[in-house]
């Protein structure tokens, strides 16, 4: 080790960490497809996939093999460039967002001081995957799905940012590590409960998970924006949904539930446990709630969540100024 200069070792370790986190997130996303189906089976009093491997534990491997070897079909009426680009944007923008999440005091890819803004920027870019995917398919249902997705994501992104500003104001920084450090005495979920609730709702809406899956509502739109996709291109949209779910869960844990902090257990175990709890919550929401109508989703966002986040931000600002006048 002495032969290598210090900065080289540091950068090699950082690269290794980034690679491990990337692979870990992808594998977790793949495994979650199975976990979700098993849990849905449990809650709905049926078996779920239980044939491949012990308790069906290898079902995701079988699914991956199947999806990789399917015919990769591009419709002749599609806009080829955008059709191929869309799933790549979906996957890349979500995976890049993991850059800012600190897993433990020593693990994490980047320590940006605009951390949270980077997530918002990537969430903004992520909209294009659905828009381009839906438009380039040359399919009416896909276009309708893309239209819904764009309107829904734009509306909910307005206050996904606003709901986080309370946390930013209390921590006094956009840096994720400093936000975690600021929660040493009290998790932000207590003073920022409204912010947490709206972020949770907006997080589900932005990843278009059920019950906010209007863009791909099967009963109305066949499958929405990815109806023309097959093989691994569809797989990237599909896996992207799970990666998005992991991302939102990890963000909620980092911003509102103290990140890696907790007694007795090592930091990573705490982080994983908290994130896992939110992943299960996401799945439970899917299992238990019906899908609201599209106009109800939009109305709820603009009429209820947006005022709530604004009030939350105003009160937070007033209290901070009261406690510590400039």
């Amino acid at each position: 080790m002495n032969a290598l200069p210090e900065p080289l070792v540091a950068s090699l370790i950082a690269m290794l960490q980034a690679g491990v986190i990337l692979l870990g997130v992808l594998l977790l996303g793949a495994v979650l497809t199975l976990v979700e189906r098993r849990l849905l089976g449990l809650w709905q009093d049926r078996h779920g996939p239980n044939r491949v491997g012990p308790f069906g534990a290898l079902q995701w491997v079988a699914d991956m093999i199947k999806i990789f070897f399917k015919e990769d079909w591009i419709p002749p009426f599609a806009d080829r460039t955008l059709f191929v680009l869309a799933p790549a944007i979906a996957m890349a923008s979500l995976l890049l967002s993991f850059m800012i999440i600190p897993l433990t005091p020593s693990w994490g890819v980047a320590n940006l001081h605009i951390g949270l803004l980077f997530f918002l920027a990537m969430a903004g870019i992520n909209v294009y995957s659905v828009l381009f995917g839906g438009w380039s398919s040359g399919n009416k249902y896909a276009l309708l799905g893309a239209m819904r997705a764009a309107a829904q994501t734009l509306s909910y992104e307005v206050f996904i940012g606003l709901s986080l500003m309370g946390v930013v104001a209390m921590a006094g920084t956009f840096n994720m590590r400093e936000i975690v450090a600021a929660q040493e005495d009290l998790w932000f979920v207590v003073p920022q409960f409204l912010g947490f609730m709206t972020f949770l709702v907006a997080g589900i809406a932005v990843t278009h998970r059920p019950p906010f899956d209007q863009p791909e509502a099967e009963q109305e739109l066949a499958d929405g924006y990815h109806v023309e996709y097959s093989s691994m291109k569809f797989g990237m949209f599909f896996l992207g949904e799970y990666v998005g779910m992991v991302l939102i869960s990890a963000l909620i844990v980092t911003l509102f539930f103290g990140g890696w902090q907790g007694p007795w257990l090592p930091p990573f175990v705490w982080f994983a446990l908290k994130t896992g709890a939110f992943l299960v919550l996401f799945m439970l929401l899917r299992a238990s709630l019906p899908r609201p109508r599209y106009d109800q989703v939009m109305r709820f966002g603009w009429m209820f969540c947006l005022p709530l986040t604004l009030i939350n931000l105003l009160v937070t600002g007033a209290l901070i100024l009261l406690a510590d006048p400039l």
């Binding site: 955008l82 903004g124 438009w135 992104e157």
Partner: protein, 178 residues
């Protein structure tokens, strides 16, 4: 950082050229998005990551989505491409290109004759610094911009409001009469 600055600047120029010359409106918008993101990278390279992030969030992530949204709804297809191609005939773009070439020469000459010693420094501006600058010496401008935006918001809500009962009943009467 300098390499990043020049590379992303080059990408921005090429992508903007792509916006002008591309005949497919959605592809042209894609080039515009790339151009905006590379401008954001220029901001990063210049040590203003806050401005860069805002560029991506506001321009690439919100405004351009609306553009793409509207163009998608118009469903221009082959007709639109043909029209764009007709506009790009040499006779049409020759005049404007000559005029802008003169402007380019003036720009390059000005940059050439100016002080050449300016280099990119590694100083990074934090969000806190930007905020205290905006709400300190530039408070008046920020408030004026806020008033302008409020006026735009009221106008948009007025224009986009649903027709009142009087207007809608009129229309219905008109339809029901055989």
């Amino acid at each position: 950082m300098e390499i990043a600055f020049y590379l992303s600047g080059l990408v921005a120029v090429l992508a903007t050229l792509g916006v002008v010359t591309n005949t497919n409106p959605v592809h042209a918008l894609l080039y515009l998005i790339v151009s905006l993101i590379s401008v954001a990278l220029v901001f990063f390279a210049l040590g203003a990551p806050f401005a860069g992030a805002l560029e991506v969030i506001v321009y690439a992530g919100a405004i351009m989505v609306l553009f793409v949204f509207v163009v998608m709804m118009l469903n221009l297809g082959q007709q639109g491409v043909a029209q764009e191609r007709a506009w790009l005939s040499p006779r049409v773009w020759l005049g404007p290109a000559l005029l802008s070439a003169v402007l380019l020469v003036i720009l390059v000459a000005t940059l050439w004759s100016g002080e050449g010693g300016r280099m990119i420094t590694g100083e990074t501006l934090t969000a806190r610094a930007v905020g205290s600058l905006l709400f300190g010496p530039w408070l008046l401008v920020v408030e004026l911009a806020a008033m302008l935006l409020l006026a735009a918001l009221v106008t948009a809500s007025h224009v986009g409001r649903l027709p009142g009962p009087a207007a809608s009943s009129d229309r219905r009467d008109h339809k029901e009469v055989p």
